[in-house]
Symmetry: C2
Subunit: 350 residues, 2 copies
């Protein structure tokens, strides 16, 4: 027998292209066009590297406390991870441990079914309506858990807090996760529900609104009991996950509210300015509350537009699966100048 | 039914104390007493934080290439992770997928059984001899995999390459992992075996010899095929794990061979100097090839020494489990001054 027979063989997920060319306009991975807070630069410039010889604080207490302060909750209600992917993956492992299926939309963040398969969690996807909104009644069944992003990705469509509260009320038997990766760009947050229900977890990331995708910081807020289970699970197999520099950078970023609010407002303003321009060019899309627009063109095939943009060094995202969305493009909101260039090139293409 | 019934409940691992006092001598987590290479400081000072708004390179190519260069192997033979815990955990998940038990010593790194339990991998531990060496014949049975640290931890005892080659020859049916976390402090490396056998993985860390525990960098070297399986598994559930600053810091560190060699030599010199002093004080220990000494005292109980040292603000590690080693202390090698202070206080205690 060969060793290869006993190896776990999986099909890896392929992330959005990270082209290494210099002069490109990169609107394909929902990164923020503006850099992180200048306070982060200060942290790096003044970082005492001797600290690196020691293991980082396994609890990342400085960051946990800063996030708790920012959201006005106690520290025992905050969990931090190496990007929200780490937080979400750990949440799947911890909370979704039932024989009943976990429920999420058919069009949503592409890692949910990956983690469910990895951890052998049964799941069922619920079809979005044709207008890409979620039908709450689909979630009206006994289940092993629910996870929904708000706004949803890659659709950009947001639901309000009442919508989620109605779902949570019906599910005392399981944990409900709201993935708020994009919430800062205009949707309502479900954070107030975490004061009221002990089984709802709200997950956030530094990768979008805080311009720190390169730092890998994600966090979750829930009841102390919910967070305790998550911490136990995390500590059961890796004590030291977040490095010391990242902890310090994350603290600096969340304390700089002014910079944050300014940059988020700029992205929103650009998005709102671009919406009518895209409509004028023949694009159709649901109203986006995120830092991207998920659009289909009335007459021209998405793949053709995708390839032609790429030929002009403009990268957007085209999902070939599921086939329901293969005629859509997900366009991240860049700087004003990048969006002007996009509109200019689209005018030439269409 | 309450949601708590469906939650995974685990007993978390408790890492070595990270006391927050200022004036302590910390010899309990095998950290390097010297800081990282000054090249790492330069990286931080000059880091273009605008890079942080983008996702890091999911392949960490710069770091992979630098490590490949350093060890004179091709890049397709290198895997990097967020600390060697991340690398090892991923290796367990990927390679140990058989119904036969995975084998490792009864006294060894305390996370092996944790990961095995987490991933539901059957395992069997093999008792070290009374002198804390490994009996190779114990591993002479069909199995689902083998993992052994060299030098072993927390014993510090090293075996030579022939010892491991004899084991590997007998196990074409499974993957053999050599955890070389401490190898730079004087043991023989099994890296040459990775050129010869496609089923051996050698795992390394930046946390000890490279003084960068706070950065979380680990890596593995094996055959291209072995590494490919590991990468597929990693990418199947998290694309972006290592942050951009860590990637750059890791490159700077491994390129500074002079600094590295100098600091490792200092730790080894201090260890060799301290050995006879500890023996003189009545300690017994196997010869250590690592950056710690695993010692038992001929007449005084380990727990008493542990508590008395702690009262003098000197922290060493005392494992209460398994009971075979509950009369041992693991003492990390600190600076010359720290070890002088340790010896001085031990003289007072004993």
């Amino acid at each position: 027998m060969s060793w290869t027979e006993n190896v776990r063989k999986v099909v890896p997920y392929v992330p959005g292209e990270q082209p290494k060319l210099d002069k490109i306009i990169k609107l394909n991975t929902n990164e923020n066009p503006y850099g992180p807070s200048p306070k982060v630069i200060e942290v790096l410039k003044n970082f005492d590297t001797d600290v690196l010889r020691k293991y980082p604080d396994p609890n990342a207490s400085d960051l946990v406390n800063a996030i708790a302060d920012y959201h006005n909750v106690t520290s025992d209600r905050v969990f931090v991870g190496v990007g929200s992917d780490d937080v979400l993956s750990m949440a799947f492992l911890t909370y979704f441990n039932s024989d009943l299926p976990v429920l999420f939309p058919d069009i949503t963040y592409s890692f949910y079914d990956v983690w469910a398969n990895l951890y052998r969690i049964p799941f069922e996807t619920k079809k979005l309506r044709d207008d890409l909104t979620i039908d709450a009644s689909d979630y009206d069944m006994p289940c092993g858990g629910i996870i929904i992003p708000n706004p949803n990705a890659p659709t950009g469509v947001a639901e309000n807090v009442d919508f989620f509260e109605n779902i949570i009320k019906k599910h005392p038997e399981c944990v409900v996760i709201i993935d708020e990766a994009y919430v800062d760009f205009g949707a309502q947050t479900c954070l107030p529900l975490t004061d009221k229900y002990d089984n709802i977890l709200v997950v956030r990331t530094y990768s979008k609104s805080r311009s720190m995708a390169g730092s890998r910081i994600g966090y979750a807020i829930g009841s102390p009991r919910l967070i305790k289970y998550l911490l136990d699970c995390k500590f059961s197999f890796n004590s030291y996950t977040m490095d010391s520099i990242t902890i310090a950078s994350g603290v600096a970023s969340i304390k700089d509210e002014e910079y944050f609010a300014d940059k988020v407002a700029k992205v929103i303003a650009t998005r709102e300015r671009v919406k009518p321009q895209l409509r004028e060019l023949g694009f159709d899309f649901a109203d986006s509350k995120s830092n991207f627009i998920f659009a289909t063109h009335k007459t021209v095939d998405a793949n053709i537009i995708f390839e032609k943009l790429k030929a002009s060094n403009i990268f957007v995202r085209h999902f070939k699966n599921p086939s329901r969305i293969d005629n859509y493009l997900r366009i991240s909101i860049g700087t004003e100048g990048e969006m002007d260039e996009l509109i200019k090139v689209l005018k030439e293409i269409l």
